[in-house]
Amino acid sequence: MLCTKGIPTAEDLATRIPPEERRKKGPVVMIECFQKIPCNPCYTACKHGAIQKFEDINDLPSVNFDNCNGCGLCISKCPGLAIFVIDETYSETQATVSLPFEFFPLPREGEEVDLLDRSGTKVGRGKVLKVRNGKYEDRTPVITVIVPKELSMVVRNIKVGGDVS
């Protein structure tokens, strides 16, 4: 699926999902990078020693989840826009997903948007909690959106406006 449609399968994702115990403790990074390509800015961006140094620039990123505090500074630095931060402790029933969003118009904080999965299919509606769009993000804004907890590993994009029904 990845190599024909660009959509990772459950087996692909299983190798990248942070362990459940770690997810229960607060926000944590999930790097959806499945192919060895010459690229390492995620390591350079991480200030907490969570993303490990690359022995070979073609290696897949390796994460020490215990060092990750979910700051999300790596999200806008990934040229592949493949980094997300998931917080499953947001509330009893809700999680948040932070994702890169390089489209116009940007959502406003508090605005309801369509929640899309990895194939761009609408899976629900959710409220935007935070929009980070400063000098650091440098035109790759990071949007944090509130999603039903069971969709924390499903929602990977949003559509501003979208269908209210």
Partner: protein
């Protein structure tokens, strides 16, 4: 006749880096580009580059272009000739013929030449492939990202390599609908992260599909619809699998081929290497061709990523300067560093095709 130590032809990523590296060693450089600005195709690359910090990873191509152009323009050892097209190389005298602003013809005699002319887009045979509305992917990028005009409303992207995937994403950013990305190959050729970016926008990627025909609107004479069909594992189309797409733009992104005219004129020994996009010059590790003093760098030396083009440029610039006796004391270290960078960029699984191609080239 104008004289210079090193003439660099082409001010894209390879030519800019070549000029800077040669000047850094102490050589005098004349950088010649046919456009009114430097940067080559970097000026339309709105996405962040891969690689490491040394290759400007995580910075957008447009911004890398600005950084390098500014460094070149303020460097006192580099003279830049814009709106200047090299239209001939006369190997007997080692003279370049340059048309300046389409008005004057200038002869330049350099001691060394670095050819960094880039590549041009390939084409694809299908019925009515010459209709207005069928554009190269790079052309769409130029129109949209450099001049701010969208190519149309609905696009069929042909080719799921990095350029096809990136331009599809950029079309969506500009508010243009990409109906589908098709590729005759059974698998996506570009980086999967680029594919995932467009997939989550809802753009379908269809591998093992090619274009059967295109049709024009009878009134306007421009493209109105495309017919695509599936191919089997021997690349043969399967009748009955046709699908009609209403599109006013077909974007062709089936690869690039090196713009090597000057190298042919110079008498460089050339070889057809499909993995590198077409005819490329044999060269040694220093990027010097079989004609002494003529160097190559970037896509003209074999179509690859912009990050490798930049380092090839560095390498060619360093070596050309050194061959004239210039060395600020760091030549050996910088040359070794560039060689290591190139090797590491090409060493992974996605570099396999490039490695196969380059193995056929060493003179």
């Amino acid at each position: 006749m104008k004289k210079t130590e090193i003439a660099v032809i082409g001010g894209g990523p390879a030519g800019l880096m070549a000029s800077l590296a040669a000047a850094e060693m102490g050589a005098r450089v004349t950088l010649i580009d046919r456009n009114s600005r430097l940067g080559g195709q970097l000026v339309k690359q709105t996405h962040m580059f891969f690689g490491s910090e040394k290759e400007y990873a995580s910075i957008r191509g447009i911004d890398i272009g600005k950084i390098l152009s500014a460094e070149v323009l303020k460097n006192p050892r580099i003279e830049t000739m814009l709106d200047s097209t090299v239209i001939g190389y006369y190997p007997d005298d080692g003279v370049l013929g340059v048309e300046v602003e389409e008005k004057t013809f200038v002869k330049i005699k350099p001691e060394k030449v670095i050819v960094a002319t880039g590549a041009s887009e390939k084409f694809l045979p299908f019925e009515n492939n010459d209709l207005p509305g069928i554009y190269g992917a790079g052309a769409v990028q130029t129109l949209m990202n450099e001049h701010g005009v969208i190519p149309g409303d609905n696009v069929l992207m042909v080719g799921a390599g990095n350029i096809g995937l990136i331009v599809s994403y950029q079309l969506m950013q500009a508010g243009v609908n990409v109906k589908a990305i098709i590729d005759a190959a059974p698998n996506i050729g570009g980086y999967w992260v680029h594919a995932s970016k467009v997939a989550r926008l809802g753009v379908p990627i269809m591998t093992s599909y090619t274009v059967k025909a295109a049709y024009a609107n009878e009134l306007t004479g421009a493209l109105e619809r495309a017919v695509i069909w599936q191919v089997d594992n021997k690349w043969q189309p399967i009748p009955g699998t046709e699908k009609v797409l209403k599109v006013d733009v077909i974007c062709i992104s089936v690869g690039l081929s090196p713009l090597a005219e000057i190298l042919w004129q110079a008498g460089c020994k050339m070889k057809y290497v499909p993995q590198l996009g077409g005819h490329v010059a044999l060269r040694n590790e220093n990027m010097e061709t079989t004609v002494p003093g003529v160097y190559v760098a970037g896509d003209v030396a074999g179509v690859e990523e912009a990050s490798s083009a930049m380092i090839e440029g560095r390498l060619a610039g360093l070596n050309a300067a050194k061959s004239l006796g210039y060395d600020n004391g760091t030549f050996n270290e910088k040359r070794r560093e560039a060689l290591e960078q190139l090797e590491s960029l090409r060493s992974g699984p996605v570099g396999e095709k490039i490695r196969q191609g380059l193995a056929q080239l060493v003179s």
